[in-house]
Amino acid sequence: MPRGYIVALFCATGVVSMPASGAEPIKIGFPIPLSGPTAVYGEPVLKGAELAVSEINAKGGVLGRKLELLSRDSKANADEAVRLARELIIKDNVDFLAGTLTSAEAPAVSTVAKENKIVFIAPTSKSTILTDPAHIHPYIFRVSSNTDVEGLAGATLVARWKDVKTVATIAPDYAYGRDSIAAFKASLKKLRPDIQIVDEQWPKLGEPDFTAFITAQMGKKPDAVYCSLFAGDFVTFTKEATPRGYFKAIANRMVDGAEVGTTDEAQALGGDYPYGIISDSYDPVIFTGNEPPEHKKFIEDLKAFTKAKYASGWSIVGYQAIYALADGINRAGNTKSDDVAKALPGMTFDTPVGKRTFSAKSHETFAPEYWGVMVKEAAYPFAVMQNPELLPPSTETN
């Protein structure tokens, strides 16, 4: 019967579609989580990228062509990010890729970039496997930090506490947490061989109840704690740890290397923030002094662009990724990924918080981050970073 005919008919209609033509703007595909629990990071990163695109276009674009950002919701999911990246390349004919958030998404999208020979700039993933010798390829670049840099900065800060003899760690049990703690321990061993790691706790990512981990860690009586919990996990953890006297027991000597020093995290915790701990942020947003003038302007523009009262500490990485790419295109003189991939290694570009350079060998910027004690400030209803300090000072780790 004509059942087969119907199938053929469907095939025919499915196959007809329009090929994109006349690639006037330079298209940048940007898969990033815009729904789910990590959207709170994805959205500000995208806003930063959008701000950079609108600034560049207002000045006439790159090589006389406008930039066009094609953002897609990756749902913080490696599978979805790969699917979107391929669709952006094959269907939308993007010239470049930027974006992704988690340490699962970025390495997965990197393989798509490699296979399709498209330059990909990762703004947030810290996973070392993104650019380690086994995975590096000509088209992958990273503007964010990595876990080795983070671990070194964290260990430097812990090492400054001369009377600390015992340290405990707590981190989410997945790739980022494991890498981050391993890097911290390696750096600390070099800086302060006398310090002992007395306890390691590994709650799962998205752990709903930290009670068991908190009491177990307190039982070991560490002098200080290195922590890699972030986002909602850090909020839950803090709300359970404070009433049990966890922070009091360690005299607030905690260093968290997972960007809980951002205004975003501080606002999420409000008055519940464990004041006195040290944490990091790519952009402290609120400088109590020594603010670079470019940064002041960036924050003003960002606030106007997002119409938010306080700017996000995450937008800067999206902003940097787009400017780095635009500089690379200018330097290459065309939009061919092969030429841009040759222009980027060794290239220095400006950011609102100083110059960054892509290492010629590892395509990393080894971006230092701002670290500081999170304190109560009368002018703000949330914790603010005191005297932000760029760490590690020397960004040579490998």
Binding site: F10, C11, V15, N77, A78
Partner: protein, 332 residues
């Protein structure tokens, strides 16, 4: 009389061959994106047909069919990436691995009935997901296994007209041939005496047992065969997506394939492939206009379930029957 003559004429035309040949021209006449979509449709079609051996033919509602798809994807991916096994060995191994897992899980599942059977299949698929998500050393955990190499398809250059095809196009053609062979095998199985026994079990398990059929053994056999072909579809999907991720095994994918099957019509052998085609195509078209794709899908399902219980194919067949009936009456 005219009605019957028309039917015989239509049935003499080798429709399946025409569809296959039409699908094979996609890399030449369509864009790169068309090939991309067609690959997805073809792989989903095999996955849905394998599910329908349980759903439509045997009457077993499995909520965990994605487990076998996932096992196949991981077996093929791990063999090809970690152990550099060639595709000719890794592909059948994926089917075999999925069949073995289906044998073990099916042994327990067929002991239960209806909702309890469905829940147990769901439980097994969640176990596979948890293992895939946690066993970092083997499955890559939440980072998955990216960068699975394409099979070596350079030999295709020797075929005239294939020389300037991209690797993605070549892989699509390979996929099309393998899926066509797999679906043909499933068609033969469904039409064999074994397949008829499965239908008997679906329609009346008590009676089937009464006439001496070992109902559980037949159900288990159907479960294993369906699992094996789902594994083959998974192996192809892992290669097509250039990586295997834990999300492939998440339960929501099981729901997706059930929707495909019902959308196309589970009472017809060709229903699931039509459902796969419709779902992938609709998803592409509708998400271009609105982000509320689940809303549209829900509305379509609602209409289908109330008005056309036979799905798309069922609706079309009913339409043709009605038209033929009217024509026959006019002729008389």
């Amino acid at each position: 009389m005219t009605g019957r003559r028309r039917a015989t004429l239509a049935s003499r035309i080798p429709w399946t061959l025409i569809v296959f040949l039409a699908a094979a021209t996609v890399p030449w006449i369509g864009s790169r994106y068309d090939t991309f979509l067609a690959s997805q449709i073809v792989i989903d079609a095999l996955f849905a047909v394998s599910l329908n051996l349980l759903l439509g033919t045997t009457g077993l509602v499995s909520f965990g069919h994605v487990a076998y798809f996932g096992v196949g994807a991981y077996v093929c991916g791990i063999l090809m990436k970690t152990y550099e096994v060639p595709f000719v060995l890794a592909f059948p191994a994926a089917g075999l691995g999925a069949a073995l897992f289906a044998l073990v899980s099916g042994y327990f599942c067929v002991r239960l009935q209806k909702l309890y059977f469905a829940m147990l299949t769901l439980a097994f698929s969640q176990i596979v997901w948890a293992i895939a998500y946690k066993w970092n050393d083997v499955t890559g955990g939440d980072q998955g296994l990216p960068e699975i190499p394409y099979p070596d398809l350079d030999w295709m250059s020797a075929i005239p007209g294939f020389g300037d095809l991209r690797i993605g196009d070549r892989f699509y053609l390979l996929t099309l041939v393998l899926v066509a062979l797999s679906i043909a095998a499933l068609r033969i199985i469904t039409r064999s005496p074994f397949g008829r026994m499965l239908t008997t079990i679906r329609d009346n398990p008590e009676r089937a047992a009464f006439i001496g059929l070992n109902v559980r053994a037949y159900q288990l056999a159907a479960f294993v065969v369906a699992g094996a072909f789902a594994g083959l579809a998974g192996a192809l999907y892992g290669l097509f997506s250039r990586g295997v991720f834990a999300d492939y095994v998440f339960w929501s994918k099981s729901a997706e394939v059930i929707i495909m099957t019902i959308l196309g019509g589970m009472d017809y052998f060709w229903g699931p492939p039509v459902g796969a085609l419709a779902l992938v195509w609709l998803n592409q078209q509708i998400t271009a206009y609105t982000e509320y794709w689940p809303f549209v899908l829900g509305a379509i399902l609602l209409v289908l379930l109330f008005a056309f219980t036979g799905g798309i194919v069922g609706g079309i067949v009913a339409g043709f029957r009605f038209a033929r009936y009217r024509l026959a009456r006019r002729d008389a």
